[in-house]
Amino acid sequence: MPDLSINFCGVRSPNPFWLASGPPTNTAYQVMKAFDAGWGGAVWKTIGDPIINTASRYGSIDYKHERMIGLNNIELISDRPIETNFREISEVKKRFPKNTVVASLMVESKRETWHDIVRRAQDSGSDLLELNFGCPHGMSERGMGAAVGQVPEYTTMITTWVKEVATIPVIVKLTPNVTDVAHMASAAKQGGAGAVSLVNTFNSLVGVDLDTYAPRPNVGGYGSHGGYCGPSVKPIALHMVSSVAKHPTVGVPISGIGGIANWQDATEFILLGATSVQVCTAAMHYGFRIVEDMIDGLSQYLEDKGFNSVMDLVGKSVNRIRDWGDLDLNYKIVARIDPQLCIGCNLCYIACEDGAHQCIAAAERPRGDLRDGEIAKHVPRILEDECVGCNLCALVCPVPGCITMEQLDNGRATMSWRQLQEARGRNPQCTMGDLLAKGTAAD
């Protein structure tokens, strides 16, 4: 049985699956239920001066029959008294000493106020602190959350204040609503952050009701921008996590967040540099029970791949991310359609024809129905000489394994754009085509 436990900033956690700060971690009741279900840790719903919320608070995006592929909220931090939250954290830690409890904090930007809340959080028995510099709505208008996280100097300053009194590791939670999230991670590190977590929610307006003209979610006919999360944000979050992981000087543990709903999503974040992952929307959608397959699926994956510990996976794909200019321009693949598997929907044809490079041919389908006998199989044809190997046909094909991208041996050595530029400098008389054909042998 592979070891799922992790070491995050010196804190041991039974597994990398943590609940993110949000509605599922509002109370001791919820967090204890989650730990019983198998979650390794929980980041408490952000603690600060209690707020008053609106109704409604959430809006979502559905796709076809799939509900809530993206979730937007205008809910604020905890509406419960600070002392209640810390008392409940103490109770949870007493009952679940091995599980990780992270106190998420957000108070006004005053040194003494931060000192006070940090001390109280430590007294409660929290394992880690997470500074919420990410919330993009409501709190930011009051000078907190993303208002701090979007200014590197503020991020550094407040982290420094926290570190002045902190005796446990400090995570800074980053907002994605910035130009370069790795730069913000660097600012947090400068302030003394021991780790970063990302991403918080994306500034969003989830939709407009076409009958009432009111934005969603609707509060008495009006709405406000909110924070967007859920499965649809995962690719953007993955990029941001990897950009922090690749940053040459940040080098702190990462807790990955953004659309994680299952063990596969979680594993991708871990491969791109996350040590722990945080989940919110999927737990809001289906409840805490989803962690069972996350644990089981990740264990099975580690076993199948021959890893003893999940820690061996952390960052394994980071160095496979390169600048575009370092990718091999001589790597050649073409699409192949398996005529046995093809069901004749022509989606590859029309995607390539209208949306890509006109490399698939399809004859017009003859008229006819089963009363006249069998309907002949209708399989489009790849024009291999034209195919640019873009993947689009394979992406739109509804049949798994029907369209594959096959590597062609064009006999060329690798050559990246950067190498090509260098070769052009050395051989100004040669065309780009000639240089590519020669590959790195062009020297």
């Binding site: 076809k64 093809c342 022509n346 989606l347 006819g368 129905d369 309907i375």
Partner: protein, 454 residues
């Protein structure tokens, strides 16, 4: 033995309840979300009326139900009834690419009904009549072919008048479809929508009796023959003067017009024939309360022309199949009512002119089925009426037409539906009617241009 109602009105209603009930909005979204939105889709190519199926399904998904109905009805004005009665498993759904992956096809028929119901239930007219062009066209028969022809003509700006001898329009759509598939009222809702396009439907008028062909030819620029077929073929055995021997069309018509508790039904019923109409009769007989229903067919299961799903339905309804048996005579009781059917077993030989295996009776193999009602379901006769039309070319009683324009050998006459194909689906009749309307419009426009040039 009696032939009065055998079940309570509530039981009868339950037995004839919609066999394929409408989709709820939620089920419709789920069903629609399965459509891949194929390009040059095979379902379109398998639909005689070429409805843009992926388009109307996408419109259901985007909650544009009026637009979805417009997509359907502009290609097939009888989209509601076709959604209910089309043999979709051999047409659009049979061609659905999902079949090739071993999946269930998209429920195109039910989705189509879902979209059209939306506008029918709300009285929304999605089709508009064209600008009046002065062309006047008469349709004989108010069945699917004429209705489709008339609707298309109105959209093209022609005046369209339908004459029909029955009290209600719709033809077999109203009178001839099994009640658990569609009620007469549903057919009528559809014809009302067509009337709203400005089609003048005159029921209770028999051409050749109330209005002469000459009068029609004088008053209209073109005439469309959508007359369908005649009455059910005779058995040609000793039966036709015995009571409780019925024909399929009259029997089905009773279930559609009289109320189920007014339909005469035996306790043990023999249905003679192996087509889809024979199945409709047999299942209706069971649903009306007949205890035993035999379906007697001269050939074997393999040769039967009924669709597989119809055969499966009859089996589920508890119909007893008597294969390779031919009726010899009906045995009457003392009061002249059927009390038995003598049949003879048959053996099958090589294919005959119908390309099905031939059969011949086996001498001495007679046997008697105890039945108190016999219904013949053997296909329909060709209409003698067609012979009254000058210069019409017939082939085996079927009207010969130009397949592109549906024009007959007499250029003033066009034709479509069962009188042309010898008996097809509603959707085939609609396709004919639509094609004929375009043929008529083009021919009359050419005439008008000719006159203008002269």
């Amino acid at each position: 033995m009696h032939t009065g109602p055998k079940l309570t009105p509530e039981q009868l209603e339950e037995n004839f309840a919609d066999i394929n009930p409408p989709l709820t909005p939620s089920l419709a979204l789920e069903a629609a979300s399965r459509c891949l939105f194929c390009y040059d889709a095979p379902c379109i190519k398998a639909c005689p009326t070429e409805i843009n199926i992926p388009q109307f399904i996408r419109q259901i998904l985007t909650q544009n139900l009026v637009g979805s109905a417009r997509t359907i009805l502009s290609a097939n004005v009888l989209g509601h009834s076709c959604g209910r009665v089309c043999p979709t498993s051999v047409l659009c759904e049979g061609a659905c690419v999902l079949n090739a992956e071993g999946k269930k096809p998209v429920e195109i028929g039910r989705l189509q009904r879902h979209a059209v119901d939306h506008v029918l239930n709300r009285g929304i007219n999605v089709l508009k009549a064209g600008k009046e062009n002065g062309q006047r066209v008469a349709m004989i028969g108010a069945g699917p072919a004429s209705l489709a022809c008339a609707a298309e003509l109105r959209r093209l700006g022609c005046a369209a008048v339908i004459f029909d001898s029955k009290p209600h329009p719709g033809g077999l759509n109203t009178y001839g479809i099994a009640a658990y598939k569609m009620r007469a009222e549903d057919s009528m809702r559809e014809t009302e929508m067509i009337r709203a396009l400005g089609v003048d439907i005159r029921n209770g008028v028999t051409i050749g009796r109330d209005v002469s062909l000459e009068q029609l030819e004088r008053e209209y620029d073109a005439i469309f023959l959508g007359v369908g077929l005649g009455e059910t073929d005779d058995l040609n055995i000793e039966a036709d003067n015995i009571r409780r021997c019925a024909d399929a069309l009259s029997f089905i018509e009773q279930t559609k017009t009289n109320g189920f508790d007014h339909v005469q039904i035996g306790t043990q019923v023999a249905v003679i024939g192996g087509g889809n109409t024979a199945i409709d009769v047999a299942t209706a007989a069971r649903r009306l309360g007949a205890e035993v229903v035999y379906m007697i067919y001269r050939r074997s299961r393999e040769e039967m022309s009924a669709f597989d799903y119809e055969y499966e339905l009859a089996k589920v309804d508890g119909v007893t199949f008597v294969w390779q048996a031919a009726p010899v005579r009906v045995v009457p009781d003392a009061r002249g009512r059927a009390q038995g059917l003598v049949c003879v077993k048959t053996e099958l030989g090589p294919p005959d002119s119908s390309s099905r295996r031939s059969f011949r009776p086996i001498p001495g193999s007679e046997f008697t089925l105890e039945v108190d009602m016999v219904v013949r379901a053997l296909g329909q006769k060709k209409l003698a009426f067609l012979q009254d039309i000058p210069n019409l070319k017939l082939d085996g009683g079927k009207v010969v037409v130009n397949a592109e324009t549906m024009q007959t050998a007499n250029p003033k006459y066009f034709a479509g539906g069962d009188c042309v194909n010898g008996g097809g689906e509603v959707v085939d009749a609609v396709a004919h009617g639509k094609r004929a309307a375009r043929g008529i419009h083009a021919a009359l426009a050419a005439q008008q241009r000719g006159v203008a040039h002269a």
